[in-house]
């Protein structure tokens, strides 16, 4: 049974390389996009925490800044 799955009637090399290529591409794209997202979130956190208090308060009133903060580390801590 296991041998049959690996050999795929002699087409194993083609079938497994196609599936492997697809899964490697998925993983690579996911990691690249995740890395870019985390990088932007870190930049946002750094910039936000260096703002003066009155500017932080005014930014927190805007829904989008609040949402970004909820999804980044500042609020989680």
């Amino acid at each position: 049974m296991i041998n049959n799955i690996f050999s795929m009637s002699g087409y194993g090399i083609y079938v497994w390389s196609a599936f492997s290529f697809t899964l490697i591409c998925f993983t690579a794209l996911y990691l690249i996009v995740k890395f870019q997202l985390v990088k932007q979130q870190k930049i946002f956190n750094k910039k936000f925490s260096s703002l003066p208090i009155e500017k932080i308060k005014s930014a927190e009133k805007q829904k989008i800044y609040k949402e970004i903060l909820i999804n980044t580390s500042i609020y989680k801590i």
Partner: protein
């Protein structure tokens, strides 16, 4: 109507949906892989090599679908000057190009045992390669032009021009004599594929669509935070 697509309004939704999408994607992909590799039967002519279909076909469908969406939204973005449509298009492009590359590579791998060649300059494969080039041009336009308005205009023109290629890809097997077989799955006429193969194909397509959604949401949030980072400087 387009106000519903304002980034400020949909950011909270995209952030929440993103968290659940990855888990649903993993579950659906595992079911799809089990169906495709273990449960689905061999083809009576192509034997087990037919299983490549379960990654090749969903990739090809999604790459065409994503490019069509990019083209339509680009057209509306040029007409209605909506700020969010270019952001959506830009976020869709990475998964679109990935699917088109997967379709080409897995098609090439499938071609060797089936046709005896890795590559042939037939209408379907060549038009698919043209789609990859359109995706590359679209992504490069955003990278090359630093001025946002100009980048949006040029990338939109590329996307709209690329739309001409979509029906060529779809109907190439009917219009010209190619190595590719005609479509087995038709919405309007009878589907010629057996349900034992159609079910895994549908599940794999759902898994791939979920992956496209996941990448789109992550990329969209990245682009939005990038814009807000610039906004913080102006506060």
């Amino acid at each position: 109507m387009f106000n519903y697509f304002e980034p400020n309004k949909i950011f909270s939704i995209t952030s929440k949906v993103q968290k659940y999408t990855i888990y649903i994607f993993i579950i659906v992909l595992c079911i799809g892989l089990f169906e495709a590799i273990i449960l689905s039967p061999k083809d009576y002519i192509q034997s087990d090599s037919v299983r490549i279909m379960y990654v090749h076909v969903p990739s090809a469908w999604l790459s065409l679908g994503i490019f069509t969406v990019i083209s339509i939204l680009s057209f509306f973005s040029l007409i209605f000057k909506n700020k969010n449509f270019p952001l959506i298009c830009k976020s869709l492009a990475p998964s679109g190009i990935l699917f088109s590359i997967i379709a080409l590579v897995t098609g090439s791998i499938w071609g060797k045992p089936t046709w005896g060649t890795w590559w042939a300059w037939d209408a379907r494969i060549t038009s698919m390669l043209v789609l990859v080039l359109f995706y590359i041009m679209y992504i490069l336009a955003w990278k090359i032009f630093s001025e946002k308005e100009k980048a949006n205009k040029i990338s939109s023109i590329i996307a709209i021009l690329g739309l001409i290629n979509i029906p060529i890809i779809k109907f190439s097997v009917d219009w010209w004599s190619t190595l590719h077989q005609p479509a087995s799955i038709n919405i309007l006429s009878k589907t010629t594929i057996h349900s034992s193969m159609l079910i895994p194909l549908t599940i794999m397509t759902a898994a791939f669509a979920l992956f496209a959604l996941l990448i789109f949401l992550m990329k969209y949030n990245t682009e939005l935070i990038k814009i807000k980072n610039k906004g913080l400087d102006r506060l």
